[in-house]
């Protein structure tokens, strides 16, 4: 339950925050949620990781689908030297996820530090 709640809250807070603030707001969102909702360090990491994996992956997939992947084709050739929108969507999701995961882990470890 805590896992689902943390995950949804992290994603929601990231999304709302990024409407107004820079991209690294996702790190703050994952950090804060993990610091407030007690979970094991491993679960916290997974929560942050999955929350951003789903958010960034979902958003980029949704945007790109509506665009018939026109731009993803071009940007993937530009940076990955191969025409593959899916790798670009996966890369986006993974970058968000890794930042989310480590931020959440840091938040969770901070909470444990204070408990001790």
């Amino acid at each position: 339950m805590k896992f689902i709640a943390s995950l949804v809250l992290t994603a929601l807070l990231s999304f709302t925050g990024c409407l107004f603030f820079p991209w690294w707001t996702i790190a703050i969102a994952a950090f804060v949620v993990a610091a407030l909702i007690p979970q094991s360090a491993g679960k916290s990491f997974l929560t942050g990781f999955l929350a951003l994996l789903l958010l960034w992956g979902g958003l980029s997939f949704w945007i790109s689908s509506n665009n018939d992947h026109l731009l993803a084709h071009k940007v993937s050739v530009l940076f990955l030297k191969q025409d593959n929108p899916w790798i670009l969507i996966i890369a986006t999701a993974f970058i968000g996820a890794i930042v989310g995961g480590f931020s959440a882990l840091t938040g969770s470890l901070l909470r444990k530090l204070k408990q001790a």
Partner: protein, 817 residues
């Protein structure tokens, strides 16, 4: 232990965020900040425009005085209906910015020598070249001149306010893609930037000269050879103003200095500009009168040939106010429609191509450049100090000397502090260029867009000073006309073909040809007017206008128009996209006669046969066209390389027409002989040697499946940042430099337009691009296939009561807040 884990985790998180928020050098290129760039809410995903994007909007701005409604049709062409002219121009600025902001700013950065701010040190050579040419100086003069005219001043103010209204609405996520890629932010627009843009067009169309290369040629070749290598007139020339047409009496009588001939002797210069406008910056335009058309009404056609880029130089628009209604293409960066039609007439331009930029050798007293010699005494130099910002480096300070030459303050472009590619000497050259003269080109377009008849048109185009253009005109009342309009120096014969001494008044320009004395043609008996950058007049014209003009397209167009009757707009489209090769048509009989099969190997003969069976057209699929173009280019080198072997590095090569006419006149053309051999070479020998030279390249192309002309040529429309992923490559399109369809590798018809001035105007047009500059929009390159296929769109001059028409997809309403 716990604290260690925490610190470690915090450290990793910090490093991650830092790494993703930093620009890295990858393969010599600065990467975007990957965190922001990939963030679906901030980065490039935000530029992935939905294919069903809704452009409908309700916008309020306090700068507006009335209402403006913009109807977008299915091609994203805006039809702007405004109650007031300035409101319409505000909205034009807003729309240009909305769809083309990055391009607009890039063009201005390039014009003003600010490329280094974006590109870093590799932009510095360009920046110095442009600043030393006085581009900003020219724009400042133009701005002052523009401000004297209340109409254009208020138009520019409105346009600038419109651009800035959009710039100010941008957020991190709505920034155009290229800003995110390169990592910078747009600035505010200004009237000076609009002027810089117009000077950029002047540069592109009127800053090409061969003065230094010609000077080297003059110093190197004996006079008899020089006259043959660079003839002043071409036999096949069919000028814009037909031969025999009388001209207005001369009002300025330029006098050649007595030392004229000796001044150029032994003046070998090795200067070379770091960049030059494309020699193919030309165009076609023509108009046929009602006597030659099926409908009985005139038809006007225009296709300006320019560099092919994405986003395109052009943006299609209709502007309608109670006082005027115009449709056509506009320049993102400037108000008004440039080429198009209104309810009464149509207009289009081709480049005048005359030499309006000359160099004067300046003698400074010493290396401080503080004083220069003029008319026997030393005068104080004025300095303009430019601080060039370089991304990631300290500013580069460049001080440019300006010298007063007669009435004109001219920048000393080349001196000891700047060589521009110069390799040997240490001479100083000031540049005299008509784009430095005060002029107000936008006034031409504010008047032209509203022109109702020939006298309105004449009054409008007389405001065009730089770049000088051949302005074609046709009117519903039946009139057709062309004026070779511009600020043309009245030169003595040969003036400015070479660099000139700048130590006294004698070599300076002695006046400008009055604007009403330019060659023009109004309702000629032959029933058509045309221009294709050929020399506008024959030798009977009283002023000297130089020698370097391409003539074959003009020759072909005139021949075809003269033979046509009962013309329909479809005939005109077929003519605009025609791939017949007039140079080849003249030369091929001579080549066929002189190709010596016996001297060719089996492989070489295979290509000779392809050539012999060629139909003289640079069509898609033609292998003969590939052989001819390769052969001709190489023949030009082979014939002259021996004569030029010992010439200075940077010496003018003969024009293509010089070799063509030399061969046609005399099959034992003097320069065919290789001066390094004892024997006398003939055309037959030269053709054999060229076939031997080109066969490996043709074999290679054949092996790669690229022998067909369109594959060999591989026309591409490049993104302005030269990013292949954002460009369109290998377009299936025929044509070549001397075809009426002058589509080259990366250069060609940048807008094709055919306007039939029947009671209800019938208009067609297409450009190789799309209305949106956003590479993530489906409108980014949506016209390219249509353009490559030689097809046109019907241009819809919408009326106010057609708001419910099914072609309208979105509506943007602007009103006062």
């Amino acid at each position: 232990m716990r604290i260690l884990f925490f610190v470690l985790s915090a450290f990793i998180t910090g490093v991650l965020i830092f790494a993703l928020n930093t620009s890295w050098k990858i393969g010599g290129v600065n990467s975007p900040l990957f965190g922001a760039f990939l963030s679906p809410q901030h980065g490039f995903w935000q530029n992935a425009e939905s294919t069903s994007e809704d452009f409908t909007a309700d916008l309020k701005f306090e700068q507006l005085s009335g209402k403006v409604t913009v109807y977008f049709d299915e091609r994203l062409v805006p039809h702007v209906f405004a109650e007031q002219e300035n409101d319409a121009l505000f909205v034009q600025g807003y729309l240009h910015a909305k769809f083309r902001l990055w391009q607009m700013e890039l063009q201005v950065f390039a014009a003003s020598g600010r490329a280094s701010e974006i590109l870093g040190e590799k932009g510095l050579a360009h920046d110095r070249e442009f600043r030393r040419l006085g581009m900003v100086y020219a724009a400042e003069i133009a701005e002052k001149e523009m401000e004297k005219d209340p109409l254009t001043k208020s138009a520019c103010d409105a346009y600038t306010a419109g651009v800035n209204a959009y710039v100010n609405s941008l957020t991190e996520s709505t920034l155009p893609l290229e800003y995110k890629l390169i990592g910078y932010k747009p600035e505010q627009w200004s009237n000076l930037k609009t002027m810089l843009f117009t000077k950029y067009i002047s540069y592109d169309l009127s800053a090409r000269d061969d003065d230094m290369e010609m000077t080297n040629a003059k110093g190197f070749f004996p006079p008899s050879d020089f006259a043959k290598l660079y003839p002043a007139i071409q036999d096949s020339l069919d000028p814009i103003i037909p031969k025999g047409q009388p001209f207005l009496p001369q009002s300025i009588f330029p006098v050649a200095p007595v030392s004229e001939d000796s001044a150029y002797m032994n003046k070998i210069v090795a200067a070379q500009e770091t960049e030059k406008p494309d020699p193919g910056n030309g165009s076609n335009n023509w108009a046929v009168s009602g006597t030659k058309t099926k409908s009985g009404s005139p038809i006007l056609c225009n296709d300006p040939h320019l560099g092919l880029n994405l986003p395109s130089l052009w943006f299609e628009i209709q502007i309608s106010t109670p006082t005027f209604n115009v449709y056509g293409v506009s320049f993102p960066g400037a108000p008004y429609v440039i080429i198009g039609f209104n309810d009464s007439c149509a207009f289009g331009v081709t480049n005048g191509g005359r030499d309006v930029r000359d160099y004067y050798e300046i003698q400074f007293k010493d290396d401080t450049r503080k004083e220069y010699l003029f008319n026997g005494t030393y005068h104080a130099t004025k300095f303009r100090v430019d601080s060039i910002k370089i991304k990631g480096k300290a500013d580069f300070i460049d001080s440019v000397a300006y010298v007063q030459l007669g009435n004109d303050l001219c920048p000393v472009m080349f001196d000891k502090t700047y060589s521009g590619g110069r390799t040997t000497n240490n001479k100083n050259y000031a540049v005299r260029w008509t784009a430095h003269n005060p002029s107000n080109e936008l006034k031409m377009f504010t008047l032209l867009d509203k022109s109702k008849n020939y006298s309105d048109y004449t009054a409008a185009v007389m405001n065009l000073h730089s770049p000088g253009q051949n302005c074609a005109f046709a009117c519903k009342n039946g009139d057709i006309a062309i004026r070779t309009q511009g600020n043309w120096p009245a030169k003595w014969k040969g003036q400015g073909d070479f660099v000139m001494p700048g130590t006294d008044t004698s070599y300076l320009w002695q006046g400008m040809i009055p604007q009403d004395e330019v060659p023009y043609l109004y309702n000629p008996e032959r029933g058509f007017i045309s221009s294709a950058n050929q020399k506008p007049v024959d030798e009977s014209y009283p002023y000297y206008i130089g020698r370097n003009y391409p003539m074959y397209r003009g020759y072909e167009i005139n021949k075809r128009l003269a033979a046509m009757s009962n013309i329909t707009p479809q005939d005109m489209m077929a003519l605009q996209t025609d791939n017949f090769n007039p140079v080849a048509a003249m030369l091929m009989p001579l080549f066929i006669k002189n190709i010596n099969d016996a001297s060719l190997s089996a492989t070489e003969k295979k290509y000779a046969d392809l050539l012999k069976n060629w139909n003289l057209r640079n069509d898609i699929g033609s292998k003969g066209a590939t052989v001819f173009e390769t052969l001709w280019t190489n023949l030009l080198d082979t014939v002259y390389d021996d004569e030029f072997a010992k010439a200075p590095l940077n010496t003018m090569r003969p024009f293509e027409s010089t070799l063509a006419e030399g061969l046609l006149k005399d099959s034992a053309y003097q320069f065919l002989d290789d001066v390094n051999t004892a024997s006398i070479e003939t055309l037959s020998d030269e053709l054999t040697s060229v076939f031997k030279k080109i066969t490996p390249a043709l074999e290679k192309a054949a092996a790669e499946g690229k022998l067909e002309w369109e594959k060999f040529k591989a026309t591409h429309v490049d993104h302005l940042a030269k990013l292949p992923a954002l460009s369109r490559r290998n377009l299936p399109i025929g044509g070549s430099a001397h075809n009426i369809n002058a589509t080259k590798e990366n250069h060609g018809p940048s807008w094709r337009m055919v306007i039939s001035l029947t009671a209800k105007t019938e208009a067609y047009g297409v450009y190789p691009g799309g209305q949106s500059g956003n590479p993530g929009s489906k409108f980014y390159d949506s016209f390219i296939d249509q353009w490559a296929g030689g097809k046109y769109y019907s241009l819809w001059m919408m009326t106010n009561d057609e708001a419910k028409d099914s072609r309208i997809k979105w509506t943007m309403r602007f009103s006062k807040s």
